[in-house]
Assembly symmetry: C2
Homo-oligomer: 316 residues x 2
């Protein structure tokens, strides 16, 4: 990929490793994530009957920005692995991981600044991406700051998720639309839809992290609480009357199995499970409303609904 060719050899190798294109020795590899964001960008261009290639600069840019955010997140969370591969700070140290993330930002923006296509469309897409990046970073700031606060309201939590997770799911849709020549109105509508779907996804993930069936999700349903993650049910529970017991359970570094069960009991007593389910349903309904009077060809609308269902209606 032209986006990651010029620079110090080790930095380029590292950046290509981050993207999942190469292994640590520079050999081609397949890996990395599901490439949802670039797919959304190309898909949005198709909704407006454009060749998806017109959205390629946006697709490249948003995937590089997503990967920048992963690299810096890993430093912040001290995650030593992602997708069963060592993370960059684990391989190269925190300083170089910070640099690698920073470098990915510059290369992401270059894809739009110097990519193919009419400059005013690229500038419009760049403006959307850059604003989404600022909101994503602000969400990340909030997420870290919430860790040291005793209570966070569900509204504050959802705002944080809208930035941290939603912004970079809505942006590629708007970018693809703008690169295909859609109006600002159409782009904004799609963007809000994508953000709302992203938010619904996270709320559902939060629900499944406590009440999901591990056999279906493939994930533990005790880890979130054992590691004291402040997910939506937890922030709801902690801000409910009867939170004193939950707060007390959350005082030690980690929770043992009995404490986890006790915490779940409190959450169910204050109906945090029902609250989370209702919130998820509200967001799905909001996403559908956003499509209801969207003037797009019927098959485009059908495709959007299918994408939404793929993102939201999953049990894993």
């Amino acid at each position: 990929m032209a986006a990651l060719e010029h620079g110090p050899a080790e930095l380029i190798t590292t950046a290509r490793y981050v993207m999942g294109w190469e292994d640590t020795s520079g050999m081609p590899s397949s890996g990395g994530g599901k490439r949802i964001r670039p797919a959304l960008c190309l898909f949005a261009a198709e909704l407006f009957a454009a060749d998806p290639n017109v959205a390629m600069p946006g697709a490249v840019a948003v995937e590089l920005i997503h990967n920048f955010s992963l690299v810096h997140d890993e430093v912040q969370d001290h995650d030593a692995e992602r997708h069963h591969r060592p993370t960059i700070w684990a391989l190269r140290g925190e300083g170089q991981a910070i640099n690698a993330g920073d470098f990915l930002i510059a290369r992401a923006l270059d894809a739009l600044i110097n990519g193919d296509g009419p400059s005013e469309r690229r500038m419009a897409a760049l403006s959307v991406l850059n604003a989404a990046m600022a909101r994503m970073i602000a969400g990340q700031w909030d997420d870290i700051s919430f860790e040291s606060r005793t209570t966070v309201s569900p509204e504050e939590y959802l705002d944080m998720v809208r930035g941290k997770t939603g912004a970079l799911l809505g942006a590629p849709l708007a970018m693809g639309a703008l690169l295909a020549g859609a109006s600002n109105d159409e782009a904004t509508r799609l963007q809000e839809w994508g953000e709302t779907v992203g938010l619904a996804f996270q709320v559902q993930d939060d629900y499944l992290g406590i009440w999901g069936d591990p056999n279906l999700t493939g994930k533990s349903n005790t880890n979130d609480i054992a590691r004291k993650k402040k997910t939506l049910p937890v922030v709801h529970g902690l801000s409910s009357p009867g939170a004193a017991k939950l707060a007390a359970l959350y005082e030690p570094e980690t929770l043992n199995d009995d404490d986890v069960q006790a915490a779940v009991d409190v959450l169910e007593a204050v109906k945090s499970d029902a609250f989370t389910k209702a919130e998820g349903a509200r967001l799905v309904s909001r996403a559908n409303d956003l499509l209801a009077d969207f003037e797009l060809p019927l098959d485009s609308l059908g495709q959007l609904r299918a994408v939404g269902a793929y993102l939201i209606d999953r049990d894993s």
Copy 2:
């Protein structure tokens, strides 16, 4: 400043503190650095007889990018103070310092993406800034990677400095020129001049860090060696015949006073002092050559020379 108004309150306060606009409690303060980069950007617009205000989006952007780099550098170097104020990671932790730096990048680019003035000029300035940012980050990568290498050639060292320090001194000149409507050729010439001056500055700084008079520079002339900084004289010495003794002196974590003196003796024996002086002189001469056939009004050339002299001919 409009650039830092929207976002989580604490993040905005932190970003404004980084810029030196406010103290930790959000009260106005004066401080921060010398604002050399925005001054160069406004100055470049004036060289082309434009109102310096046309370069304001570039001036804001480059100063925000400079501050992003400082915040991440401080995390990487574990510097607890800058300009006699606690650094962001010291105040808020490394994770939030990484976020604050990332946020400054997004806000920097916004100043050019959504600033006043013709969009093609802003896009041209943005392209220059973004490319300079990538080179600055690559230089920072090299700087850190050099720490764990036994030898670094003077050429590699100068390449690193050209990115780490030069790129963000050359870019604002090109940005100011482009925002004022100058040609790409004129912008590129100014940019190269700025980078060369920046490089000359660093080479002189390296010289003074060992052979400067502390009474004139206000800085220790033993710290660079005691802390094993790989400055130009040192990388020259280490790659010279007779380096074995220097390498041996550089094996412990830090050097005591006797070791520092012994290291200086080796550097002088292999003429690293003369090499560094000559390199500085070569760069100053190169900077002057770049101005020699530059078709600018005489008083503009005179001002450029004065700026160059201010940056280079200093003993502090």
